[in-house]
Structure formats: structure tokens, C-alpha cells
């Protein structure tokens, strides 16, 4: 039995995409990396990306590598 209170806190269950899909975190995969940055070019936080801690860390460092190589912007103000 679902009470209204439960429904208030209902959120779609997030499953880490890199755990379930045959995807690799590669800093050269710019299209994939760009899916995990906001429109202000910040790295999407874990609460939004839905990744597990391990893959979020991998992803964050991969995005930073991508940025360094000039493949992704650091900010919108370049």
C-alpha cells in the first residue's frame, strides 16, 4: 500500500549506466563526455547523472582530460 508520503519522495530509480551498458569511459569520446556536462559546462553531479561512485570518479577525471586537450570547454566564457 502506497501512502501519499511515499509518492512525494518517489524518484525514478537510477542505475549506473556504465555498470549496465557496455560503455567505456574514454576521454577521447567527446560525444559521450559532453552528455555529462551541464549547459554551463560543469560536470553533472552524481545526483543527476545517476552514476555509481566509482564511475562518477572515472568520468570526472575523464572530462577533465577531455577539457585539457581542448575537446571540451571549461566554461561558457572562453
Amino acid at each position: 500500500m502506497e501512502s501519499p508520503r511515499d509518492r512525494r519522495y518517489f524518484a525514478k530509480k537510477k542505475i549506473c549506466r556504465f555498470c549496465t551498458e557496455p560503455l567505456e569511459i574514454d576521454y577521447k569520446n567527446v560525444d559521450l563526455m559532453s552528455r555529462f556536462i551541464t549547459d554551463r559546462k560543469k560536470i553533472v553531479p552524481r545526483r543527476n547523472s545517476g552514476l555509481c561512485a566509482y564511475h562518477q570518479r572515472q568520468l570526472a577525471s575523464a572530462i577533465k582530460r577531455t577539457r585539457y586537450m581542448g575537446l571540451l570547454p571549461y566554461t561558457v566564457l572562453h
Partner: protein, 199 residues
């Protein structure tokens, strides 16, 4: 000496207006460093030429080259030092350690590609790797098209029962799962939408 060879990947960006001979001057040295310490080049290739996300030394575009090799950790220092020496031509460079499986996969892919180029009559002579192409990687694909199905699709009438039964039973069972499956395997566009709505 407890140093073990690792697998490394160096990605470097050069100026888009760099001349051929200048580029080869930079690139020709790289195998020497690796060979000097019994390393092995697994892939040396142009990765892409693309727009930079921000200007680097007033350049808006860059040509990316990727070098995958197996060598002792000290070799990376030589390579980076070399690339740094040409820092007006090489805009960015970065060496990262990679897994063995990734390195081997890239090597096989590169070997396959160079083998295909050799087979083609008009093989472009740019940067053919010194390593011998491995034909063994090609074989499993050619062996595939053996389908032991003796069914003649036109002659036999497939029972309509099975088709009708399957489709309605699957659909109302768990539509949520089906949606999730399409999301999971979806194209980049669908997932991009998903990300976009999260602000």
C-alpha cells in the same frame, strides 16, 4: 630494477597549418625513444582534425594524433620532453596509462586497417606502421557467414499463431521494462534528451 613496462597512450594536438616535413620531424623521433628501451609501438595514427573547444595559442582548430605504446615508465618522460620542446607546434599533449586489453584491441584494429590498406591497390603511404599486420584477426569474421538454417523462408508458411500470441503477451506484461530497454540501448540523441531535462 623493478620497473615493469606499462601500456601508455599519448594524445597530442598539433597546429592545423603545420607542414608535412615539420610534422614528420616531430613524429620521427617518437619511435626512437620507445625502441631505445625495448618498447613496442602498438598504434600511431591520426585521430582527428577538429574544432577546439577554446583557443589554444590563438588556434581554433587542431590536428590530433594518437600514439599507443608499451614501454617502461621512463620512456614517457622522454616523449613528453620531446613534445614540450616543440611547444609552438604541439599545442597540447597528454600521456595516460591504459589497460592492456585496450592497448591490444587498438593494436589489432590498427593492424586490420593497415592490412586492408595494403590489400587495396591505391594504398595511401602515410605513416604505415613498422609492425607486421596480423591477418589472424581478420579470419574469425570471414568464417562467420555459415548459417546452418535449412529453412526456406518463402516456401514454408509460418504458423500465424505464434506471431499473434507472442506480440500481445509481451506488450502489456511490462511496458516499463521495454521503455527502459530502449532507453538503455538508445541512440545518443535519446540519452542526450534525458540529460538535458535534468537541470
Amino acid at each position: 630494477m623493478a620497473l615493469k613496462p606499462n601500456y601508455y597512450e599519448t594524445l597530442y594536438v598539433v597546429r592545423p597549418d603545420l607542414k608535412e616535413d615539420e610534422l614528420s620531424k616531430i613524429q620521427s623521433k617518437l619511435p626512437e625513444f620507445i625502441a631505445a628501451h625495448d618498447g613496442e609501438i602498438m598504434k600511431s595514427d591520426k585521430w582527428a582534425e577538429r574544432e577546439l573547444a577554446y583557443e589554444i595559442q590563438d588556434h581554433k582548430r587542431g590536428v590530433f594524433y594518437v600514439l599507443i605504446f608499451k614501454a617502461l615508465p621512463t620512456v614517457t618522460r622522454d616523449i613528453e620532453k620531446h613534445l614540450r620542446f616543440y611547444n609552438t607546434d604541439v599545442l597540447r599533449f597528454m600521456t595516460v596509462k591504459i589497460n592492456e586489453e585496450v592497448a591490444v584491441r587498438e593494436k589489432n584494429a590498427a593492424a586490420e586497417r593497415s592490412a586492408a590498406e595494403h590489400a587495396a591497390p591505391e594504398a595511401p603511404a602515410e605513416s604505415v606502421p613498422s609492425e607486421e599486420p596480423k591477418p589472424e584477426a581478420v579470419q574469425p569474421e570471414t568464417a562467420q557467414p555459415e548459417t546452418p538454417q535449412d529453412k526456406t523462408p518463402e516456401g514454408t508458411v509460418v504458423q500465424p499463431e505464434t506471431q499473434e500470441q507472442e506480440t500481445p503477451s509481451e506488450e502489456p506484461a511490462e511496458p516499463k521494462e521495454a521503455e527502459a530497454a530502449t532507453e538503455v540501448q538508445g541512440t545518443p540523441e535519446t540519452t542526450a534528451e534525458e540529460e538535458g531535462g535534468k537541470e
